[in-house]
């Protein structure tokens, strides 16, 4: 979605502000939100793409004025309610009033280390051959989906070159909507900064994004006109 999260190329946010001490968390509640989001993410009720989608769904003004873990919290509150795990009354009081809904798994303390050390790969086999190959000139499609997508606005309609073919990966746009992993070929596409930002772009600068196959089309119209 064209929401508050799609920040590439925006102006007006001021300087980057590194902190001297860089605490990993800035309040006790941030740690708890982090842990709760991780734990609930493994309940099998939703997936990582759906969580990103829930965060992006905050109204842009709220997204941009909420701290990072406040965004996580609001999204998690929204998800547990949307999936029927917690009622609004339970959220308001912190006490359970209705029986727990079944979840696919409850992450146990002793499972954390082995599961997180192994990780959760997103690569998947794709039966069809890749449409593009390294060196191909491609254009990022002009799309504006209301739902989750990982094609940022700043590359849409712009032309770049395939730089790497990474194999098949879970497609976030469908997965976020629980419409299947529908894996697609994933590419790295390199864009010259001038093609993204125009003649005033900083010199000697290029940007690469990872783009799923359906985000791309050949830069020159295909032969059958």
């Amino acid at each position: 979605m064209n929401g508050g999260q799609d920040l590439g190329g925006m102006h007006g946010f001021g300087p980057v502000a590194p902190e001297a001490d860089e605490p990993r968390f800035h309040a006790a509640w941030e740690k708890r939100v982090f842990g709760l989001a991780m734990a609930m993410g493994l309940s099998g009720t939703w997936n990582l793409d759906a969580s990103r989608s829930a965060r992006e769904a905050l109204p842009p003004g709220e997204y941009l004025t909420s701290s990072y873990y406040a965004i996580w919290l609001k999204a998690l509150e929204s998800q547990v309610q949307a999936h029927g795990l917690v009622t609004p009354e339970e959220l308001a009081t912190g006490r359970g009033f209705v029986p727990a809904a079944p979840v696919k798994r409850v992450l146990r303390g002793e499972e954390v280390d082995p599961l997180f050390a192994r990780g959760f790969p997103s690569d998947r086999p794709v039966p069809d051959p890749a449409r593009f190959t390294v060196g191909d000139r491609v254009r990022a499609r002009i799309v504006n989906p209301v739902g989750h997508t990982r094609l940022p606005r700043y590359v849409r309609g712009r032309t770049g070159r395939i730089e790497a073919v990474h194999g098949g990966f879970v497609f976030p746009d469908t997965n976020a909507q629980f419409a299947g992993e529908a894996p697609q070929w994933l590419y790295t596409v390199r864009f010259a900064a001038r093609d993204l930002w125009g003649d005033q772009a900083e010199a000697g600068h290029a940007v690469s994004v990872n783009a799923f196959e359906s985000y791309l089309e050949p830069a020159e119209p295909e032969s059958a006109a």
Partner: protein
Amino acid sequence: MAHDHDHEDHDHDHHAPHHASELSPMELRVRALESVLVEKGYVDPAALDRLIETYETKVGPHNGARVVARAWVDADFRARLLADATPAMRELGVGGRGGEHMVVVANTQEEHNLVVCTLCSCYPWPVLGLPPVWYKSPPYRSRAVIEPRAVLAEFGVTLPADQRIRVWDSTAELRYMVLPMRPAGTEALDEAALAALVTRDSMIGTGLPRAPGPSA
């Protein structure tokens, strides 16, 4: 509550400490969520504690620094790392959640690499730990792709005008680590001493490795 009315409900970053006896509205809100999730059996408190402990104290940029130092001293490892980073890092026991699909991009005299996630906060957790706030915040996310030299200047990094900049926007599940150039004057250093020169920012691309100290 009485002293908190006009602070915590804005959700901005607030770093002011609170008296232990006064919970902010955000603390209360999160406590309610945690209580009900635990009470209903969705969350095991032991898992929650372990997750927080892991990412607060265990993972961090020391993992990435070890990878970089090894690549500086071992040309074969470097080649494996650049060809397929995930298994190469596994040789050093580095990997896991958030690092399932690692890509390492090497700085050269010709090109400097910079990593960002404009859409959220993708970051190689097992290699660099949790990202700093600035990495997740709008100024960096908006500007890194459109004016990377200006951003680097704010980090105190001024590159030669003829060194190109390549920005990697982490828009899928690939996670990037920058392999910085080995600083000059480090021929005598061992791998551990080299790792100590590798800053977190030098593996994001917003910094360069430390120069060796005068004793090196």
